[in-house]
């Protein structure tokens, strides 16, 4: 059987894809909370920074961001006398994380804003500071609200990792392209690759579902 020979290289690619997904999802989550809360901040500087970040990264294309960081940033570095050349893995994680973080920030902001006004009043009556209220009262309640869109974003992120093959990172998409060049057996290779991505997406979605149940435990308890 021909196709069994493809399994090994493709699985190697899968592993890189998984690593990229994990790292960039972690980075994206941090950025999402930072910028999402930052957009709700009363500090005009923090707010402006968050809004700018969100708008720039949501308003442009991921591939443009990836190419900019890979091709243009080093040149900018030369201009200002800094070495801004990074390893492709770093560039890939950075671009993916920055991109997904901007979308996540809007999810965080929306969910926090959907916390009822009465919760903020109760917090005020107990004399919590604004920051404490945001992080201790509003955010934990908003968390379950965020999980379904976060799940979608994680799958989106997994799919987006395929683009890093274009800056020659050896992920699944890259391995597929290599194999195709070698064998011209496009149908078999790309069918296998599609199913591999599909499988990874299903697993990721299931994991996000578990996480959703976990952060929303207090919601499901009933008398």
């Amino acid at each position: 059987m021909e196709w069994t020979r493809y399994i090994d290289p493709l699985l190697q690619g899968c592993w890189v894809t998984i690593e990229l997904t994990v790292y960039s999802t972690i980075l994206g989550t941090l950025l999402a909370f930072g910028a999402g809360m930052g957009k709700l901040s009363h500090n005009p500087l923090i707010k402006a920074l968050s809004v700018t970040y969100i708008e720039v990264f949501r308003g442009t294309s991921l591939l443009v961001q990836l190419f900019w960081l890979y091709f243009a940033l080093p040149l900018l570095g030369e201009l200002i006398g800094l070495d801004l050349r990074f390893h492709p893995v770093t560039v890939g994680v950075l671009a993916l994380g920055l991109n997904i973080g901007a979308y996540g920030a809007e999810v965080v902001r929306g969910a926090v804003q959907s916390v009822p006004r009465t919760q903020y009043e109760a917090a005020k009556a107990l004399n919590f500071t604004r920051t404490q209220t945001l992080w201790r009262i509003a955010l934990p309640q908003a968390l379950p609200e965020m999980m379904p869109p976060f799940g979608n974003l994680a799958v989106q992120n997994l799919k987006d990792t395929a683009l890093v093959s274009l800056i020659s990172l050896g992920d699944l998409a890259f391995r597929a392209e290599q194999l195709r060049n070698l064998t011209q057996d496009s149908t078999t290779i790309y069918t296998m690759v599609l199913f591999m991505y599909f499988g990874m997406a299903l697993v990721l979605a299931a994991l996000m579902g578990l996480l959703e149940r976990h952060v929303g435990r207090w919601r499901h308890r009933r008398r």
Binding site: N127, Q132, R136, R223
Partner: protein, 259 residues
């Protein structure tokens, strides 16, 4: 004679065109238990919310415990209060809401320990000890690890009372604490409030439609109408021989709703 612990002077509160508090003058003595009654929309909740600093006032001055609430003494007289001043003033008050407003993502115990720990800076042990005493007081020691959604309305409101008390306020504000409860659960909450009313130190302001209860626990009853106090006095006087026609009509409507 003691200085009043709450003094409202010519307080005006507007929501857009609507004047909700209309040059309200109102004082409460330390340790006094005052019940506020009156028709819906007369501004009862708004008074409590102004005291809790949940609503800003448009005119007038409110003094709490000798200091202006919404103002600070500046170089040239009274200036609008800073957040630091408001935080200092909030420390003196606790509020119990009609719909409890417990934090749904925290256990009962954490609802009671969170603010003492992070606002008052108590150690975890102190906060926990205080919480356990209060749960004992409201009769819910066995529910410490429960989430609010696992409790009945009456139990939730008792937790909410304990949560406010955990901050050791001088003044407790109750906004219709039993209005959202099923009738059979009203009693357990009123019993807790009555036990608090026996504390001489604690100043209490209670908005309620439970007239019998008001009669038994209050030192004074205030009848609110259109953002002012129309009539006030000892409960026997207000309930037995109200002077104002509006008060008589209101009491009649509340006590004999079927007529």
């Amino acid at each position: 004679m003691n200085e009043p612990i709450i003094r409202c002077e010519g307080v005006v509160k507007r929501f857009g065109e609507l004047t909700v508090l209309d040059h309200l003058d109102f004082t409460v003595d330390p340790g006094e238990k005052v019940t506020i009654i009156g028709p819906s929309g007369s501004g009862k909740s708004t008074v409590l919310r102004v005291l809790m600093t949940l609503e800003r006032i448009n005119e007038g001055v409110v003094y709490v415990d000798g200091e202006p609430l919404w103002h600070e003494q500046g170089a040239k007289g009274l200036e609008p209060a800073s957040e630091a001043h408001l935080r200092k003033m909030r420390q003196k008050m606790g509020m119990v809401f009609q719909h409890f407003n417990l934090f749904p993502h925290m256990t009962v115990l954490r609802n009671l320990t969170e603010a003492p720990r992070y606002v008052l800076g108590l150690s975890p042990r102190e906060a926990r000890q205080r919480a356990e005493e209060l749960l004992e007081l409201v009769g819910l020691s066995d529910k410490a690890e429960a989430f609010p959604s696992q409790l009945s309305g009456g139990q939730q409101q008792r937790v909410a009372i304990a949560r406010a008390l955990a901050m050791r306020p001088k003044i407790m504000l109750f906004d219709e604490p039993t209005s959202a409860l099923d009738p059979e659960l009203v009693g357990e909450v009123l019993r807790v409030i009555r036990s608090l009313a026996e504390e001489h130190e604690l100043t209490m302001l209670l908005v309620t439609h439970e007239m019998d209860f008001a009669r038994r626990i209050s030192d004074r009853v205030c009848f609110f109408d259109q953002g002012r106090i129309l009539e006030q006095g000892p409960p026997e006087e207000i309930f037995s021989s109200p002077k104002e026609q509006r008060t008589r009509e209101f009491l009649h409507a509340v006590l004999h709703p079927e007529e």
